[in-house]
Structures are given as structure tokens and as C-alpha cells.
Symmetry: C2
Subunit: 219 residues, 2 copies
């Protein structure tokens, strides 16, 4: 009778770190990191249900069974990606390092930093869309608790710096600031390469401009 092996089905921590994961040191940590990166690439380009465990194993360069030494299931892999590779890990440092003595300068600086980071990481949007479409946002609450405080802290700086805001609740100002990026990137995906450059070049600057001043000329 064979002895039962103890499979270390490591549960991904459900509290999220704001700092990126530490550099993997042991062989196991390195393999785990390779798996997460491989799965992330495939999920981003094919979706969650469109990606097989075999495809992840191939992309990571190991056998299918080897995955289960690191993750208990395919969903566990996705959750780990959200927790350890999610786009907000990139966005938060960018937003927190923003500088500006007025609201306008602060917003432009924060938005510029975020766009610079996010444009290099196009997968940020897809991971979130997969979460919304294929998981009905069920993992969002676990992310929310750690993301909300620093975001609100940023929003507070809107009020602290010089420059009057119109009478809009601060949470709405923050929400619409974040929404700006969805607005920009999703319409960018929709128009794709179909449009003349005039509708794309410098578009984000105009988006920020509208966020700050609106489309109407002052009377």
C-alpha cells in the first residue's frame, strides 16, 4: 500500500501586498514565478476558460502534473495573478509618487505617470476584464480592502493642494479619475487601428483636459 504523499497545495494569501512579490530565491519559488508569468500571458491573450492547464504547462516549460505542486487548481493560478501581478501594483506607486502644487498639475502628473506605466503593460486591462466577465468580479472584494485606502489618500491630496474644485463629492472625483483610464483604453481597443492618426495622437492629453476643464468653453 503506497504511502500518501503530502501535496503542498499552497493557498494564495487572500490579503494582498501592495509591494511587488520578493525576488524568488529557491527553485520552487522560481518555478512558481515562471508559472504565474506564463499563465498571465495566456490568460491575457485567450481569456481564462480559453486557456488550458496543458497550455500553461507548455508555456512554462514543465509537465502538466508539475503545476499541481504549486497551485491547487486553475482558478488558484488566476487568483494568485490578481494578488501578485495585478495592474494596481503598477499603478499605485505611480499615483503615489505624483507631484504638483495645484490640482491641475497634480492630476496631469499622476495621469501621465499612470499612462506611462499602463501603456507598457497592456495586459493590465485584460486581467481586469477577465475578472469582470469570467468571474463576475467575485475576487474584487479581496483586492478592494488594500487598494481603497491609498486611493483615498491620493484623493485627499486633491483637496490639500491649491486650486478650487467644483462641488463634486471627493469619491466621485476619484472614481471618475480612475474611470478615465477605462474610458481611454477601452475606446482605444474598440477603434483599434481603424482610425486615422488624428483621432489617436495625443488623445489622452485631451481626455485629461476634458476631465479638468470639460468640453464647454467658459462663457
Amino acid at each position: 500500500m503506497p504511502a500518501k504523499r503530502s501535496l503542498s497545495k499552497q493557498k494564495t494569501s487572500l490579503t494582498m501586498a501592495i509591494t511587488p512579490p520578493a525576488e524568488p530565491t529557491t527553485k520552487g519559488e522560481r518555478t512558481r514565478a515562471v508559472l504565474l508569468d506564463a499563465a498571465k500571458r495566456l490568460f491575457v491573450s485567450q481569456g481564462f476558460h480559453g486557456t488550458s492547464m496543458r497550455a500553461i504547462a507548455d508555456e512554462a516549460g514543465l509537465a502538466l502534473g508539475g503545476i499541481y505542486n504549486h497551485f491547487g487548481s486553475k482558478e488558484d493560478i488566476f487568483v494568485a495573478i490578481l494578488a501578485e501581478r495585478h495592474p494596481f501594483l503598477i499603478v499605485l506607486p505611480a499615483i503615489q509618487s505624483a507631484q504638483g502644487a495645484t490640482v491641475e498639475v497634480l492630476v496631469r502628473d499622476a495621469a501621465g505617470r499612470m499612462i506611462a506605466e499602463l501603456s507598457q503593460n497592456q495586459e493590465f486591462l485584460n486581467l481586469l476584464l477577465i475578472e469582470l466577465v469570467e468571474f463576475e468580479a467575485k475576487h474584487i472584494p479581496m483586492m478592494f480592502d488594500t487598494l481603497f485606502p491609498p486611493l483615498m489618500e491620493f484623493a485627499q491630496r486633491f483637496q490639500a493642494v491649491h486650486g478650487p474644485l467644483r462641488e463634486i463629492p471627493l469619491p466621485i472625483i476619484l472614481r471618475s479619475f480612475i474611470g478615465l483610464f477605462f474610458s481611454y483604453f477601452i475606446t482605444d481597443l474598440l477603434i483599434g487601428n481603424l482610425l486615422p492618426a488624428e483621432m489617436k495622437s495625443g488623445a489622452f492629453d485631451y481626455f485629461i483636459d476634458i476631465y479638468l476643464h470639460g468640453i464647454l468653453a467658459g462663457e
Copy 2:
């Protein structure tokens, strides 16, 4: 040896009608409509790859093989939904019927009509997100040709009515107007039920307000 059945793999028209599909009359048309509605419900809640042909058959109340009398593949069903049930069929009439003698009134009227329609049809966003995530937006070009002209026509009305716009290219104004809805609905999905009502109630009115006037108080 069974005789080979002639499968009527009806191709969905690749040009899109702006008018909704005609009321189904024949038995076959009714079954087809039932299949599209069933598949749409499942796609919206589980994604494309997360929905099986058997599930669609069950939801529609027929056998698996029966689906293929109406559609050649699962993807064909999705394409037919995009072409005949897609959200823009709802949005375009709303936008075209908008009234207003000034830009501000026109924008508020159009946005109000769109939100009213879209809030009743929460699936509108998910269908588009599925297209973006699971199909990498490959069906968008077929939709674009028919959607772009009426949208630009609407944008032209921005200029025709009284009320000066800031110096922003018209395509950008249109794009950011459309983006407003992604901004609103996606942030709504993200915050879910986690937030106090204060951040949600009347939020869209504020979004429109920011679109028109920006967050900064005039100096």
C-alpha cells in the same frame, strides 16, 4: 450507414442592420431567436469559452445537435448576437433621438437616454468585454462600418447647436463621450456593493457634469 444530413450552416450576414431584427414568424426563425436569447444569457454570465453548446441547448430547450440546424459553430452564435442583439442597436436610437438647443442640454439628454437604456440592459457591457477579452476585438471592424457614420452625425450636432466648445478635435469629443459610459459602468462593476450609497447615488450625473465642465472651479 446513415444518410448524410444537409446541414444548413446559415452564415450570419456580415453587414449589420441598425434596425432590430424582424419579428420571427416561421417555426425555424422562432427557434433561432430562442437559441440566440438563451446563448446571450449564458455568454453574458459565464463568458464565451465558459459556455458549452450543451448548456445552450438545455437553456434553449432542444438537443445539442439541433443547434447546428441554425448555426455552424459556437462562434457563429456569438457573431449573430453581436450583429442582431448588440448593445449599439439600443444605444443608437437613444442617441439619435436626443434633443437640445445647446451642447449642454443635448449632451445631458443623450447621456440620460443612453443610461436609461443601458441600465435596463446590463448585459451590453459584458458582450463587449467578451469580444475584447476572448476574441481580441476581431469582430469589431464588421460593426464599425455601420456604427461610425451615425455616431459622427451625432457629433456634428455638437457643433451645430448653440454653445461654444473648447478647442478639442470633434472625434476626441465623441470618443470621450462614449468612453464616459465605460468609465461609469466598469467602475460601477469594480466597486460593486462595497461602497456606501453616497459614492453611487447620482454618480452618473456627476460624470456628465465633469464631462461638460471638468472638476476645476472656474477661476
